[in-house]
Each structure stands twice: as structure tokens, then as C-alpha cells.
């Protein structure tokens, strides 16, 4: 473990019994966990290299309880780490030894579905897929579909601004959420947004989505639901070079087509996936594209023809179009199994999440291969090709001394590479603990100070989810110091009208 979490406060840990009693006064029954064995399942999220049992776990059932827990913690200066299903890949829900872990799993009800206004009102512990399940009978669905959708909760999706394979066309969580009920660290309950399309004042909703649990605890979410597209078709296209596949992607988009999903796999990823699920992928290609088109049947038929022509023009060496939904599912099976397939060929793997301008893909993959040799660790690449979001999976063995550290260093180099070519640290998994110390690669101290002052506006004592997102926690008073200007004579050289 190379990342250092804030030093636990021994005084808080010593008060554990008192804190547990206070929590039990708010959340009766089984809702407070302080038994060491029972805390164990909460010690990590999906960034499993980092583990830390929390001080205790609180599982509230009502908004009033959430408000009372936060108000008590605020008054008593106890830190709080919010948690949904614990599927974060960036350590967003990693517990702290001196913090209450606030689990929102019991907020699991769908409160209202309004087909006329095309919204669903749900509690944050409802899983992403459960929203679709609740509305699919009427022909609707909730569009963002992170790969963990069977388990991840909408509250966690809001915190992380989760994406999925369909977000090029349908957007991330932030583009599909209309409102939230939020409890502040002071225990105040406020509503941001609603069933209408715009807020009345500042777009604080847009700020909350993707804030990684640092600004408040969401207790209700209003999402947009969409009618299910009439049909969907997928194409499986092989290329003998990554460049050819990249040109095909650019030409599809330049042709005015925004596919529902467009995924690329490199040769090692194709082989790993094929060995695992026998999806029928061609093994003699360097890059494989899956292009999914959805909409009315007539549109799909038309666009399939266009994409086939573009693929041929760009040197496709194999091309198949799904004849039915079973075949479409088979095309996706290998891609969706890429992570477990990596787990089958390597004891451990580390998933990265940078986004790059797509035009830089060939050089980024080439440099990644050099780094792979340099670190002596394999890497396989799956890639949301439409939006430039890379998911390199670094293969390592945590039981070999030094390999985790090597994998982390390799991963950091990949992320730096993404930023160097004009991209970003994280496209959809969040900063969390994992990329926290890499934030200065993308942002200056002044940039980060502007972000952290937003944190201070919501949580001046820095009690909510500390140790995440920001490489250094400056005290708010320190950040709030006024900018002192050097001189009194202002802009003498400026033109004036």
C-alpha cells in the first residue's frame, strides 16, 4: 500500500463505546455494528488492495435518523464515511479507523414512478438495475448502466457520477438525475432540483453528483427514465491494427452516427476473453470493435448498413452483425467478461480508468506496451472507444513481494500518460483514494484550492469522507485567507471605453 490515509485520531477511537451508545440512541436495534467480526465485511470496497475496518457501522432507515447521526457527528467532531453497496473501484467508500461508516443499504424503496413526467423517485440504496426492473414492465428503463449495475446503488452512482457502456449516447449519471434530497453534515435536510428540468438558482445538484460523498449524504434521488429503444443490433468488427479500428471509430462519428455503445479490445484482451467465455471472437486480429446501434427497426437497419460500409473502407478483416438478441448478447459476453477473464489469467489485476482524446490512442497503446515491458507486468486493454475512456487491466500477483507496488507505479504512469496527451485521471470510476495523489498531474494548487473551498462551503470541519479526492487537506481557515493584492494602482495599461 503506497497511499497514506489521514492519521487516525486516537481520542476518537478511545470514545468508541460512547459513540456507539449515542448512535444506538438514534438508530435502535441492529442498525449499529461495533463487533470486530461483524465490521470485517465493511473493511473495503471494490478497491480491495486497501482495507481498514471502520470505527463502527451505522445503518439508518429514515431521513430523520440520517440527519440526527450527522448532526451528532458534526457536534462531536466525529468523521463520517458514507457507503452504498461498496462497489467503488477507486476506494470512495474505504473506511477510516476513526470514522463512522454510514451505510445506506436500508434505503431500498422505490417511492414513486411517474410515467407521464418520465421520472422515478427512489431511495439511494436501490440498485441501479432495480430501477430498470421497476419500470421495464411499462417499456421504460434507466439509461446509465455501470458494469456493476446488479449490485451498485443509485446513491453510489450519484456520488461517483457513474457511467457505463451506453453513456456516449445516453450520458452519465449527472445527465440523468433531476433532483436529490441531501442531508448536510450539520443535519439539515435540503432538496436540490426536482421533477422539473432546471434548478431555481445555482446548479448545486450538478455539483453534488460526482462529489464522492464529500459534500453531503443523499437520501432520495429523482431520475429520468426513458422508453426502451425498439430494437438493438451489434456489429463485431476485427482489424489487423489498432490504427484501423481507431480510424473506423472516428469515421462512424464523423458520419453523424452516435452508437449506443462502441467498445474496443486489444489482442491480449480478445484472447483472454475468448479463452474464458468462448464468445466466438476472431483470434487473428489486433483489435476488435463492438458497435451497438439502437432505435426504431428502420433506423438500426439503415445504420448497420452505414457502419458496415465504414468498417470495410477502413480495412476490417472480419465483420459480423447480430441476427437476433441472443447473438448480440454473445458479442457482448466476452467484453463483459473481460475483468473476470483477466482474473483467470492472473492472480490479481488492477483496473485503470483514464480518458484520452481518441486520436491519441495508437501512441498511448504503444507507450503502454513499452511500460509493460519496463515493469515486467502484463496489461490487457478494454476501451470505451466512443468516448476515449481506457480501462487497462494491469496483471500482477499480490503474493509476490513488490508486485502490488509495481502495479500501482505502472498504473500511475498510465494515468500520467493520459493527462500528458490531453486526457484525464478518471473517466468514470472516481478519484477516491486511488487517484487522490495524482490530482496535481491535472490541476494546479490554485485549481485544487478552488475545488476545496467548495468542500469548505458544505463541510468546514472536513468531517465527510476525509482522505478522498484531495491530495492534501488544507484547513478551511487557511484556504479562506483573502487574496492580498500587491499594489493600489490598478491596471494602468488597460484600454477603457
Amino acid at each position: 500500500m503506497s497511499l497514506v490515509m489521514p492519521l487516525p485520531d486516537a481520542a476518537t477511537i478511545a470514545r468508541r463505546g460512547e459513540i456507539a451508545a449515542a448512535m444506538r440512541a438514534i438508530v435502535p436495534g441492529e442498525g449499529v455494528i461495533d463487533d470486530d467480526d461483524a465490521l470485517r465485511p465493511y473493511e473495503s470496497d471494490a478497491l480491495t488492495a486497501y482495507r481498514q475496518p471502520p470505527l463502527l457501522v451505522v445503518l439508518p432507515e429514515t431521513v430523520e435518523q440520517v440527519a440526527a447521526v450527522l448532526a451528532w457527528c458534526h457536534k462531536n467532531r466525529v468523521k463520517v464515511v458514507p457507503r452504498g453497496a461498496g462497489t467503488s473501484l477507486s476506494g470512495g467508500a474505504l473506511p477510516l479507523a476513526d470514522a463512522v461508516l454510514l451505510g445506506m443499504a436500508k434505503f431500498n424503496r422505490v417511492l414513486d414512478i411517474d410515467y407521464a413526467d418520465r421520472v422515478a423517485v427512489v431511495q439511494p440504496g436501490v440498485t441501479n438495475l432495480a430501477i430498470t426492473r421497476a419500470v421495464e414492465g411499462a417499456g421504460f428503463y434507466y439509461a446509465p448502466d455501470p458494469s456493476s449495475q446488479i449490485a451498485c446503488t443509485i446513491g453510489g452512482n450519484v456520488a461517483e457520477n457513474s457511467g457505463g457502456v451506453h453513456c456516449l449516447k445516453y450520458g452519465l449519471t449527472t445527465n440523468n438525475v433531476l433532483g436529490v434530497e441531501l442531508v448536510t453534515i450539520e443535519g439539515e435536510v435540503i432538496r436540490l432540483g426536482g421533477r422539473g428540468l432546471e434548478p431555481a438558482g445555482l446548479d448545486l445538484l450538478g455539483l453534488i453528483v460526482g462529489s464522492e460523498g464529500l459534500l453531503g449524504v443523499v437520501t432520495e434521488v429523482i431520475v429520468r427514465i426513458l422508453p426502451r429503444p425498439e430494437t438493438a443490433k451489434a456489429l463485431l468488427i476485427g482489424f489487423d491494427s489498432v490504427e484501423g479500428a481507431g480510424r473506423c471509430v472516428a469515421e462512424i462519428i464523423a458520419g453523424g452516427i452516435i452508437p449506443a455503445g462502441m467498445e474496443m479490445m486489444d489482442r491480449p484482451a480478445i484472447h483472454a476473453a475468448e479463452a474464458f467465455v468462448n464468445a466466438g471472437y476472431p483470434l487473428d486480429v489486433e483489435a476488435l470493435l463492438i458497435v451497438e446501434l439502437d432505435g426504431p427497426g428502420a433506423e438500426c437497419t439503415h445504420l448497420v448498413g452505414e457502419v458496415e460500409a465504414i468498417a470495410r473502407r477502413n480495412g476490417a478483416v472480419s465483420l459480423r452483425t447480430s441476427a437476433n438478441d441472443d447473438e448480440r448478447a454473445a458479442f457482448w459476453a466476452g467484453r463483459k467478461a473481460a475483468f473476470p477473464a483477466a482474473g483467470r489469467i492472473s492472480p490479481d489485476y488492477y483496473c485503470m480508468d483514464g480518458t484520452i482524446p481518441r486520436r491519441r490512442l495508437p501512441e498511448v497503446l504503444a507507450r503502454m506496451r513499452e511500460l509493460s515491458e519496463q515493469y515486467g507486468l502484463g496489461v490487457i486493454n478494454v476501451f470505451h472507444a466512443g468516448d476515449g475512456n481506457l480501462h487497462p487491466l494491469i496483471l500482477y500477483d499480490a503474493n509476490q513481494p513488490g508486485q502490488l507496488e509495481k502495479a500501482e507505479a505502472f498504473g500511475a504512469d498510465i494515468v500520467r500518460l493520459c493527462v500528458a496527451v490531453g486526457g484525464v485521471l478518471t473517466g468514470e470510476h472516481g478519484v477516491g483514494v486511488e487517484k487522490r495523489d495524482l490530482m496535481p498531474e491535472m490541476f494546479s494548487e490554485v485549481d485544487l484550492a478552488h475545488q476545496q473551498r467548495v468542500k469548505c462551503a458544505f463541510d468546514p470541519e472536513l468531517l465527510l469522507n476525509p482522505g478522498k479526492m484531495f491530495p492534501q487537506l488544507h484547513r478551511c481557515a487557511e484556504l479562506g485567507r483573502m487574496h492580498v493584492h500587491r499594489g493600489e494602482v490598478a491596471f494602468p495599461d488597460l484600454p477603457r471605453f
Binding site: D114, T184, G201, G295, P296, I356, A457, F497
Partner: protein
């Protein structure tokens, strides 16, 4: 009026303090209370195209570049700004052509296409700005998918220049549709119109814009727009057999975008509600002239009577868009917020602008 030519000059202006009113082309000068004591900062020095690579779907421009120039640039590549921004000049009694992209973002301007294409806030990927502290900072990025750090792009969109002065914006662009077809049905009352629009939006017809005008060329008209590839549009139109195509669709959408059928001499309000609540809002304000955009989610309302209580009772809110100076001085432009939310907003504003350099009293 000050006109900084570069970021350094802008930083100096802001750091020197006082009250600063940020201005692009002035197309929205007539929105909000007059601010005679504020110094106007003309942002049009920050012009120019920084980067545009159409297949990447990303455009970076100076915030002071005219909106019309941006729209022409992307249209030449067969692309568009899908949030359908527009120039408020004519709506507010001025001229058209002055609006800048920075002003569009600062005011969060989205037109009829917003219903399906998303709002301005959904298309701002990143920006460079000078905050009220007189410091240059960046947020977001120049790629279409990014969750690194707080999403300050959402926060500055629609913030009306009260957090920071935008100098450069990176926008997501999308392919423009090959064809647009407008379909109408005539003679529906407001409730029936909203119900019919909801039904169409809940179907597989993939409606991209939906509006209802109680009086368009003599009759009530409910209009839907289908955008896309010709074979797709033909198939989707067939799913809406009670609607008929009209040849002058763009004229109708222009009217909706600018609320131009409403009398120009009455105060104009922009009411946001859940679409199903729109008929109730206009029923409660019998003296008002109105039209529905966004399937009812946006009610343009011409009314001397303040509609805020009605909007609030319907779970929505109202912004005063156009009025004489006396009314704009007396009536808050933005819908007043509950106390706890107002306090939180004020803290967020102070985080960017501790001395209130951008708090001119306009909103």
C-alpha cells in the same frame, strides 16, 4: 467599461475589487435589476477558436466569441450544439447577433432541443476562468468523459457571472441530424396537449422537441419534432398517426425558442415545472399569455401578476426574464430559495468570490 485583452489583465481587474458586472455582447443586458454602480467588464477580448477536432466531439473556444460564429463553425462540419442555445437580443427588445458563448453558458441558455439533447450544463466539459479572488483556475477537461474532481462546469453554467469570469470554454458537440421533421396536431386544450406530448415522449418515436402553442396562426397547435436519418424519421412518424407533417417547422420552433408569439409589452416569466403540472399553472393565471416548451416543462408566461406562488404550488419556480426597470428593481429575478438552501448557495458563492466582487445586485 473595461475590456481586458488577456487573463493577466482580467486577474488584475478582479483583484482590484469593486463591483464588476461581466458582459459579453450585451444581449441579456435587460435581464435583472439595473446596476448603475457596477463597472462593466467586456469579455469579448477572449475570442478565438482554440481547438476543434470534429470526430472527437470537442470544441474549445474563447468565451467572448459570438454564439453565431460558434454555430456557423460547427454547422460547417455537420455538427451542432445539441442544447440548442439562442440569442436573447430580440426577446429583450434589442438586436440579434451579439450574444457570446460565454454569456450563453453563464446564463444556462437552452432551447427547445434541450428536451432530448440535454441542457447547456450537460455540454460544458471544462473551462478556464478568473474567480472573484482574482485568480485564474481551470476545471473539467477537454475530453467528453471525465469525473476528475468536482464538476464545477455544472456549477458555473447558469451562475450568471456570480462565481467567476469565464475566459475559455470546452463544449461537447454532436452530429447535426440529417433531417428534421415537424409534426402537428391542432385544436387540443392544454391538458390534452400535455398528455399527448407525454404519450409521444414515452413511445419509441424518439421525439426530440415538443411544444404547445394555444394560438399559432389561428389555432391551438401541439408540435413534435423528429430528428435523425431519413429512414428512421419515416418509421417514427408512422408511430404518430394523429400528427401531420408541416413544411414550415423551423418557423414554429423559432417562435417557441424566442417566445415570440407572446406580447412583447408584457412582463415575461420563465416557469419550470414537471410537465404534467403545466396546464394547472396556466389555468390558475387566466389573464396570462403563455406557451409550453419542453413538453410542458417550460412555460413561457406573459403576465403582470407574479406567478411565483402558482409555480411554487406546482412544485416549480419562475424567473423574471423581461420587465421594465422599475419592476426589475422591485422583483427578484431569480426565484427566492428556502432559507437553508439560500444560505448554502451564499456560502458556495463566497467560496469563489469572498469579497462579493461579482455581487452587483443584478439577480
Amino acid at each position: 467599461m473595461l475590456r481586458p485583452a488577456n487573463i493577466e489583465e482580467l486577474c488584475e481587474i478582479v483583484a482590484a475589487g469593486g463591483k464588476l458586472r461581466l458582459r459579453g455582447g450585451g444581449s441579456k443586458d435587460a435581464i435583472g435589476a439595473p446596476t448603475p454602480d457596477a463597472t462593466v467588464v467586456d469579455m469579448r477580448g477572449f475570442a478565438g477558436v482554440v481547438d476543434y477536432d470534429p470526430p472527437e466531439l470537442v470544441l474549445t473556444v474563447g468565451a467572448g466569441i459570438p454564439l453565431a460564429e460558434v454555430q456557423a463553425l460547427v454547422a460547417a462540419e455537420g455538427q451542432m450544439l445539441a442544447f440548442d442555445p439562442f440569442d436573447h437580443g430580440a426577446m429583450l427588445g434589442g438586436t440579434t447577433g451579439d450574444a457570446t458563448i460565454g454569456g450563453v453558458i453563464a446564463a444556462g441558455v437552452s432551447g427547445p432541443g434541450r428536451l432530448s439533447g440535454g441542457a447547456a450544463r450537460d455540454h460544458l466539459l471544462g473551462f478556464t476562468a478568473v474567480s472573484g479572488r482574482g485568480e485564474r483556475f481551470v476545471a473539467g477537461a477537454k475530453v467528453v468523459k471525465n469525473v476528475t474532481g468536482y464538476d464545477l462546469s455544472k456549477l458555473v453554467t447558469g451562475s450568471w457571472g456570480r462565481l467567476a469570469a469565464l475566459t475559455e470554454v470546452t463544449l461537447k458537440v454532436l452530429p447535426a441530424p440529417r433531417e428534421r421533421r415537424t409534426l402537428v396536431v391542432r385544436g387540443l386544450d392544454p391538458a390534452a396537449a400535455v398528455a399527448r406530448m407525454a404519450e409521444a415522449l414515452g413511445s419509441a418515436a424518439e421525439v426530440s422537441a415538443a411544444a404547445h402553442l394555444p394560438d399559432w396562426q389561428g389555432t391551438a397547435v401541439t408540435a413534435l419534432r423528429l430528428d435523425g436519418f431519413p429512414p428512421s424519421i419515416a418509421a417514427r412518424a408512422a408511430m404518430l398517426p394523429d400528427f401531420t407533417a408541416v413544411p414550415d417547422g423551423e418557423t414554429l420552433w423559432e417562435a417557441v425558442r424566442f417566445a415570440s408569439p407572446l406580447p412583447a409589452d408584457r412582463p415575461l416569466w420563465r416557469v419550470i415545472v414537471a410537465p404534467s403540472r403545466a396546464p394547472g399553472v396556466v389555468a390558475a393565471l387566466p389573464g396570462a399569455d403563455w406557451l409550453f416548451d419542453w413538453a410542458g416543462g417550460l412555460v413561457w408566461l406573459a403576465s403582470e401578476i407574479d406567478p411565483r406562488a402558482v409555480a411554487e404550488a406546482a412544485g416549480g419556480h419562475a424567473m423574471l426574464m423581461r420587465a421594465d426597470a422599475a419592476m426589475r428593481t422591485a422583483v427578484p429575478t431569480l426565484h427566492p430559495q428556502p432559507a437553508a438552501l439560500a444560505a448554502l448557495e451564499a456560502r458556495v458563492r463566497r467560496a469563489f468570490d469572498p469579497a462579493g466582487v461579482f455581487e452587483t445586485g443584478r439577480l
